[in-house]
């Protein structure tokens, strides 16, 4: 398979992720947190807070952000960046919803939308 061919992995049904909640996906590259926001959008981020590695999947999801459960940093689901005054970013991943299924980009030129 060429490097530029996008490869998406089917992960779960949208409903498997609670609304305003998250699930964690174990992957060979580490845990990825899948979030589903109040408006049905799905986001994927590495499950490691830029502060001290807290599991973001365990945080409270609000608007398009998650509050880390360990020390309360607020991380943007769009960009992976911490809300000021905190600094730092977590790697975002590409996820999409097709026919009610959540898919995660596992290979392809720009799989990580940093």
């Amino acid at each position: 398979m060429g490097f530029n061919v996008e490869q998406w992995a089917d992960v779960c049904a949208v409903e498997d992720i609670p609304l305003r909640g998250a699930r964690v996906v174990k992957t060979p590259a580490g845990c990825v947190a899948l979030f589903r926001t109040f408006d049905g959008a799905v986001f994927a981020l590495d499950d490691r807070c830029p502060h001290k590695g807290g599991p973001l999947s365990q945080g409270i999801v609000h608007a398009r952000a998650v509050t880390c459960p360990l020390h309360g940093w607020v991380i943007s689901l769009d960009t992976g960046r911490a809300q000021a005054p905190d600094k730092g970013a977590v790697r975002t991943r590409r996820a999409q919803v097709v026919d009610g299924r959540v898919r995660l980009l596992v290979a392809g030129a720009d799989a990580a939308a940093e």
């Binding site: 992995a9 609304l19 174990k26 799905v42 409270i60 596992v106």
Partner: protein, 824 residues
């Protein structure tokens, strides 16, 4: 010579295409239409007003008989086409009429989806698509009775409103948690549900239909009598309407050998895989998409007309869609899309008094989605901005107020309040007008909304005018006004914890969304600060009714274990009064070995902590602990934590009372209750105080003559000795006073205030007086506590060990194929 055009289906899409064609090329074709429905072309969209009785069928006809005559169109009413012969270029109807064509339009529309449950074919089960369905519903409604509408989307709700209007008892069943979830966000869905319920229609969400039950066949041909849900509930129904979706009607096209996916595949010129055949309307599929609203279908119609007239230029391009619900009295508009793309932002406006909710979704300084509820007057304007892709960066501040303010000077929300006449009633509950409030502010030198409330009673009852009162204070004081005199919960709102609590009770608000709407929250779903607070306040106010919102809880309370720095969890079973047994210790030891739990530690709270448990092991760990009788210790909860005790009169040579027994009794009585912050107790057997009772939230010190009850101590970041509440003689009295104190704290304190913080705010003396001098008040608190405990004392571990909230604990995995792959 004229060419022959044959149209299959006489719905709204081909109707528009022919209108257009006769306009641009009036003499190009001889037209023949076959229509399975035995009638002329009518406005399908307006069927709901016909159902509800606001319009007659005649009023919604688009093309009357005269139109066909005038344009020389042959219309075969009630003729369903059953075959297309592409070799011979003919179409044949079921009743044997054959028409030959040069060009053919397939416009067969959609078929309503029938969910394949047992009983779906019973008499009395209908769908909602055409006039025949409406007539059947009207017939059924004549005898009153009960109707169940399956499907809480646009069609289902319109059917439900119509049937209610016609005198039936109506229940709507909807599979999803909120109504019209494809067009609306959660907030608007919630408002919609309230409005639908307010007309006397019952709504059940998350309702999955399992079967439709029929009448006894011995009593004549069976017909529908009830709907059964998968949880076993049965809802009586003389009429069942399924409005769960549509599916393109493609059978005929498929049999003719045209390319068909979900719909009949067309190109941008609306051409099918056969160049002489067009497809149009809901049956057509363009670039993988089918359409179920007329706006894009009319676009298709224009393209087809142009192509038939010989103009190859126009191409179909789907644009954003807008929806309005046609139920009188419910104003709802949604357009564009608000999901599934990163990089978006929102602007929210709520007006509780007017029942208004508006939300704009912005991406790259452009509106991409609009939801309006309650006031949809600006829908068209927003939609236009959306379609134009207008850059809104320069008027972001006022955008949500609509065209009235667009581009104008920045809106001053104060100006509107300033402009109100003096006799405008501000507080409806207590009949206080604007003039009275301003006079009070001036006369008594009031500086906050709190003071205005105390002095005039304005906003003292339901609280919905609190925002207005606030603005009046600000106006009167000008620069002297200090908004932070009263601290809002968080930036999502201007209201303080106390105000929010008052309004929840005053207005009987029973969901997070209801509170956010009533108090005009500035965000659509709150934040990590306000949501847990609201969740607690609702739980405390409505212990029997409120359904806890797991997503509004901090992870520890959601997972019923404490998260640790490495993402593992700690498990602390209850050890009543700090007393344990060999069997319990053995169970703890077994669990620690079985699940390879790295650390076992005795806590500062007289119990044992198992640290480093993997999240997915939690339910199994709990199951094993449960077997030995160990339940959750709520070490993670804003709730009752520990009741520490000393050995007391049983063993100690100084012990005056059974401090251990009393501690256990208190813990068994208080466990499970949720509180604003954690609550820790201790019971010491004598004033030597070995259980450290005088630095706890609530402490009991046994003395010869009975018991001293202490409260409001602290030993964490602040160290503070307790205050004495009172002295009592019996254990029963201790239990009553302690429970009453707990409940008073539960009902009054701001979320995340420990008892000592709350006491600082309301006054130690006030608490002492209420609980010791006002017996009725004390009894009231006590009884409310007892009632709330009925729904609180359920071991959350046992539930989860039995499978509840499973997905919280089970990680997802990539499918096997991809698992080996590097995730990029």
């Amino acid at each position: 010579m004229k060419q022959k055009l044959v149209v299959i289906g006489n719905g709204m899409a081909p109707g528009r295409a022919l209108d257009k064609l006769f306009q641009i090329a009036p003499d190009a074709y001889d037209v023949t239409i076959f229509n399975a429905e035995p009638r002329v072309n009518y406005d399908r969209i307006m069927l709901s007003p016909v159902l509800s009785g606001e319009k007659s069928f005649e009023e919604i006809i688009i093309h009357g008989d005269a139109w066909y005559e005038k344009n020389g169109v042959t219309l075969w009413k009630g003729h369903k086409v059953v075959a297309i012969d592409r070799e011979a270029k003919t179409a044949r109807s079921e009743r044997g009429v054959v028409a030959s064509y040069d060009k053919l339009i397939v416009a067969t529309g959609s078929l309503p989806v029938v969910i394949p449950v047992p009983g779906a074919d019973l008499a009395g089960v209908l769908t909602y698509r055409d006039l025949d369905d409406v007539n059947a519903m009207l017939l059924a409604a004549q005898s009153g009775g009960r109707a169940v509408v399956i499907g809480g989307g646009l069609l289902g709700l319109e059917a439900a409103a119509g049937l209610k209007e016609r005198g039936m008892d109506v229940t709507v069943l909807h599979l999803m948690p909120t109504l019209m979830e494809r067009q609306l966000d959660e907030a608007a869905g919630h408002l919609l549900q309230k409005a639908i319920e307010a007309r006397g229609i019952a709504v059940r969400t998350k309702a999955n239909t399992e079967a439709i039950l029929g009448t006894d066949p011995a009593l004549g041909p069976p017909r529908a009598r009830a709907v059964r849900l998968d949880d076993g509930t049965e809802i009586e129904a003389d009429l069942v309407v399924m409005a769960v979706g549509i599916r393109p009607n493609v059978q005929l096209a498929k049999e003719a050998g045209l390319a068909v996916n979900r719909g009949v595949v067309v190109d941008a010129g609306m051409r099918t895989s056969d160049p002489d055949i067009f497809a149009l309307g809901e049956c057509a599929e363009f670039e993988g998409q089918c359409f179920g609203l007329v706006a894009p279908l009319y676009e298709m119609a224009n393209v087809v007309a142009a192509r038939l007239a010989g103009d190859p230029a126009p191409r179909f391009k789907p644009s954003a869609l807008a929806t309005r619900l046609k139920v009188t009295g419910v104003d709802l508009f949604s357009a564009g899309d608000f999901a599934e793309k990163p990089g978006r932002d929102e602007i929210v406006l709520r007006d509780a008094a007017q029942g208004v909710y508006k939300r704009l979704v912005i991406e790259n300084d452009r509106i991409v989605g609009v939801v309006l509820y309650g006031d949809t007057a600006d829908g068209a304007w927003f939609f236009q901005q959306l379609k134009d892709g207008a850059d809104i960066s320069d008027r972001r501040e006022t955008l949500v107020f609509g065209p009235a303010y667009a581009g104008g000077q920045a809106l001053d929300p104060m100006a509107a309040v300033a402009a109100l006449p003096d006799d405008t009633e501000i507080c409806g509950c207590n009949g206080v007008c604007k003039g009275a409030i301003e006079t009070a502010i001036a006369q008594f030198g009031l500086t906050s909304a709190e003071e205005v409330r105390a002095r005039t009673k304005a906003s003292a009852s339901c609280g919905s005018c609190a925002g207005l009162v606030e603005k009046l204070v600000a106006l009167s004081l000008g620069d002297a006004y200090q908004a932070d005199a009263r601290k809002p919960i968080c930036p999502c709102t201007t209201f303080s914890h106390e105000e929010v609590r008052r309004v929840i009770v005053g207005q009987a608000l029973k969901s997070i969304q209801a509170v956010m709407q009533a108090l005009e929250w500035k965000t659509s779903c709150g934040c990590a600060k306000c949501r847990p607070a609201l969740n607690y306040y609702l739980l405390c106010a409505w212990p029997e009714e409120y359904r806890d919102d797991a997503q509004s809880r901090f992870i520890n309370e959601r997972a019923h274990a404490n998260i640790q720095k490495d993402g593992t969890f700690s498990v602390v079973p209850r050890m009543w009064g700090g007393v344990t047994s060999p069997a319990e210790l053995r169970a703890i030891a077994d669990v620690a070995e079985k699940y390879r739990i790295p650390t076992v530690k005795v806590t500062g709270g007289q119990r044992i902590d198992l640290l480093g448990v993997k999240k997915e092991d939690l339910p199994a760990v709990w199951r094993d602990l449960n077997k030995a009788g160990l339940v959750s210790g709520h070490a993670y909860a804003k709730g009752l934590r520990t009741v520490k005790t000393c050995v007391g009169a049983d063993w100690c040579r100084f012990g005056t009372q059974d401090s251990t027994g009393l501690g256990i009794r208190l813990e068994k009585f208080l466990w499970g209750s949720w509180t604003p912050h954690k609550v820790k107790l201790a019971v010491s057997g004598c004033p030597r105080n070995c259980a450290e009772a005088t630095c706890k939230d609530i402490g009991v010190v046994c003395v010869d003559s009975g018991y001293e009850i202490h409260f409001a101590g602290a030993a964490g970041m602040h160290v503070k000795a307790t205050e004495l509440l009172c002295r009592v003689r019996t254990e029963d009295e201790v239990v009553e006073y302690v429970a009453a104190l707990m409940q008073m704290y539960r009902e009054q304190a701001a979320y995340l205030d420990r008892i000592y913080k709350w006491a600082e705010k309301v006054g130690v003396e006030h608490i002492r007086c209420t609980l010791t001098e006002d017996e009725a008040a004390r009894r009231g608190y006590f009884e409310r506590f007892v009632r709330s405990q009925k729904s609180a004392q359920i071991d959350p571990w046992a539930r989860r060990a039995a499978g509840e909230e499973r997905r919280e604990f089970v990680p997802l995995e990539l499918p096997r194929m991809e698992r080996s792959m590097e995730i990029a």
